[in-house]
């Protein structure tokens, strides 16, 4: 037991409130005789690598889940032979895409054609910076927090338009235009419903937003205070991810595959990765904004005091940290499950219905939601974050 706690303190760096990996890493490097700056420089790529790995693993798991759950909803078996229960199937798919020939159509615009998928993928991965898995378990607690995600996700349409245009194919162009129109229109209600949450928590930072929701466990989650905002946010997120009720940009029956039509091999894989990373990211953000993030339905502090343990004992901190990660991921994957279920339940909307829903329904409602939240905040400053 002693050795274990020693390990925990020296390698996970449990110091003060919560885990602080960075300072402990820097400290341990300094103890090897490196300068502080060098140690910081060495630390820099680690979180990014971690984010990339987490995103990739998240995507692999999601792809597998999507295929298995889709199969279950249609009474099929789904992938079965690649690894136990087909868990290696996404890996095999990725490998296949990796070694496939990279085709650039003859009359396409080569430069823009290659740049498009990158512009779609990079903002999504960058947005992972702000997803907190625990009090200090996030890559950077930037002050602009959730706003960073909103602004980064507004870069995506440029990549979509670019790839749609560069493919020199009418289906691609139409798909790109649709995708851009869709993500522009749904960005606004999305931002407005985020704004309502931000208004309640008096901060843009995701950590603050989660902290506000963890006073009383399950009961203090934002979803009770913002039910309308929650629904709006979820719909908008589905539209931004081009998930099924809103997958017009790649509607097979009309547009072949939308902006992805001409893509093959690794460039197609970038789109594929982008869409799934975006799905996982959105689910994580829904859980952060509305479902209490890393919070356990019963606050860990209560449990600790019930077990009469000091809250900042290293062991308790370690348990809290891991429970936080598990809770965040669990909530996110429940939402992914809901998205997959929705995929097999709802038919695709038409483009005019899509814009109707966005501009004539979600936008006014999210504005009203914002106003009502402001009024409630003035009326009941205690419950709505005064």
């Amino acid at each position: 037991m002693m050795t274990f706690t020693f390990f925990a303190t020296s390698y996970l760096g449990i110091a003060g409130p919560g885990l602080d990996l960075k300072s402990s890493f820097v400290d341990s490097l300094q103890s090897f005789g490196l300068s502080t700056e060098m140690a910081r420089l060495l630390w820099l790529p680690l979180p990014m690598l971690l984010v990339l790995t987490a995103a990739m693993v998240g995507v692999l798991v999601t792809v597998w889940l999507e295929r298995k759950i889709s199969a279950a909803a249609q009474q099929r078996i789904g992938p079965e032979f690649a690894g136990a229960l087909g868990v290696l199937q996404p890996m095999a798919d990725g490998l296949k895409l990796l070694v496939k020939e990279d085709v650039i159509p003859a009359r396409a615009d080569g430069l823009l054609f290659s740049l498009g998928p990158v512009l779609v993928l990079v903002p999504v991965i960058l947005s992972w910076l702000i997803v907190p898995f625990g009090q200090t378990l996030l890559i950077s607690n930037v002050g602009v927090g959730i706003f960073l995600w909103i602004s980064l996700s507004s870069i995506q349409p440029i990549g979509l338009l670019m790839s749609g245009y560069a493919s020199n194919n009418k289906y691609s162009l139409l798909g790109g235009l649709r995708a851009a129109a869709q993500s522009i229109s749904y960005e606004i209600p999305l931002a407005l419903s985020v704004l309502a949450v931000v208004m309640m928590s008096n901060s843009l930072s995701t950590v603050e937003i989660v902290n506000l929701q963890n006073d009383a466990g399950l009961l203090s989650w934002n979803v009770w205070r913002q039910p309308v905002g929650f629904v709006i946010f979820w719909i908008c997120v589905l539209a931004e991810c081009e998930r099924l009720p809103f997958d017009l940009p790649e509607a097979e029956e009309e547009l072949v595959a939308g902006y992805q039509t001409e893509y093959a091999g690794m460039k197609f894989a970038l789109f594929y990765l982008g869409s799934y990373i975006n799905l996982v990211l959105s689910a994580l953000l829904v859980s952060v904004l509305y479902l209490g993030g890393w919070g356990f339905p019963i606050p860990v502090e209560w449990l600790a005091s019930w077990l009469s343990q000091p809250i900042d004992a290293p062991l308790i901190q370690l348990v809290t940290g891991s429970v936080g990660i598990v809770m965040t991921v669990l909530k996110a994957y429940l939402l992914v499950f809901l998205a997959i279920l929705l995929r097999w339940t709802t038919p695709r909307v038409r483009i005019d219905q899509l814009l109707d829903l966005g501009w004539k329904f979600l936008l006014p409602i999210s504005l009203v939601n914002l106003l009502v939240t402001a009024a409630l905040k003035l009326l009941f400053p205690l419950a709505f974050g005064g």
Binding site: A72, Q74, Q75
Partner: protein
């Protein structure tokens, strides 16, 4: 003002209705998760084709009299009967016979009308090829017998839905001696015989004939 309020109320109730229907749909989808798949995993497991399955045609070269009836009854005049008149014997001499299964619609007309019964339909359905010309079977290929699903050691034979015992939907794990649902004509006839033992004997023979596969 009241008109506006009415509109808003209608809008709200519409939205709530839409949500309700969505939830209903979700519950249906969720309910489907409960049902187990009955997938037949094809190359390893195969369904036993029914008795009257119209698969690839089998042809016996020696029985054929080159009468070309099969060509005439075929909706697309498909069989190619390649014969020459032997001047000395004044008889047709059959040299080749072929059917292109890339074109055949497996209607069974040729089998039905062949006067010498040299055509018959087999249970073979695996007719995919890399080259469509390799589906043009000549008399040698037409004379081959397909491997039966039940005798192939690499294949797990499974019964089709209509051949399963009462109440079963999944063919997996059904013992081969469990009787199928309903009665075969032969069973009915046997029952009738017990009731009226004075029936004619020819019916019994017919029932034996029917009992070949069931």
């Amino acid at each position: 003002m009241s008109a506006f309020l009415k509109q808003v109320l209608g809008y709200t109730s519409d939205a709530i209705d839409a949500g309700k229907y969505l939830l209903k749909g979700l519950s249906v989808t969720f309910d489907h998760m409960r049902r187990r798949p009955i997938t037949v995993q094809y190359p390893y497991e195969k369904l036993i084709p029914s008795e009257r399955y119209r698969g690839r045609i089998h042809y016996e070269f020696d029985k054929c009299i080159a009468c070309e009836v099969c060509v005439r009854v075929c909706p697309i005049n498909l069989p190619v009967v390649d014969w020459v008149m032997n001047k000395e014997t004044k008889k047709k001499e059959l040299r080749n016979y072929s059917i292109d299964f890339g074109v055949c619609i497996f209607c069974g007309n040729c089998v039905e009308y062949c006067p010498t019964n040299c055509l018959s339909m087999t249970e073979e359905y695996e007719l995919s090829a890399f080259d469509r010309h390799s589906l043009n079977f000549d008399n040698v290929a037409l004379g081959r017998l397909p491997t039966s699903v039940t005798t192939d050691p690499a294949v797990q034979p499974l019964r089709e839905l209509a051949y399963l015992p009462v109440g079963k939907i999944d063919p997996h794990g059904v013992a081969s001696d469990q009787p199928r649902a309903g009665h075969l004509p032969s069973d009915l006839l046997n029952g009738l015989q017990k009731e009226a033992p004075l029936e004619k004997k020819s019916d019994v023979e017919l029932s034996d004939g029917e009992n070949l596969k069931g």
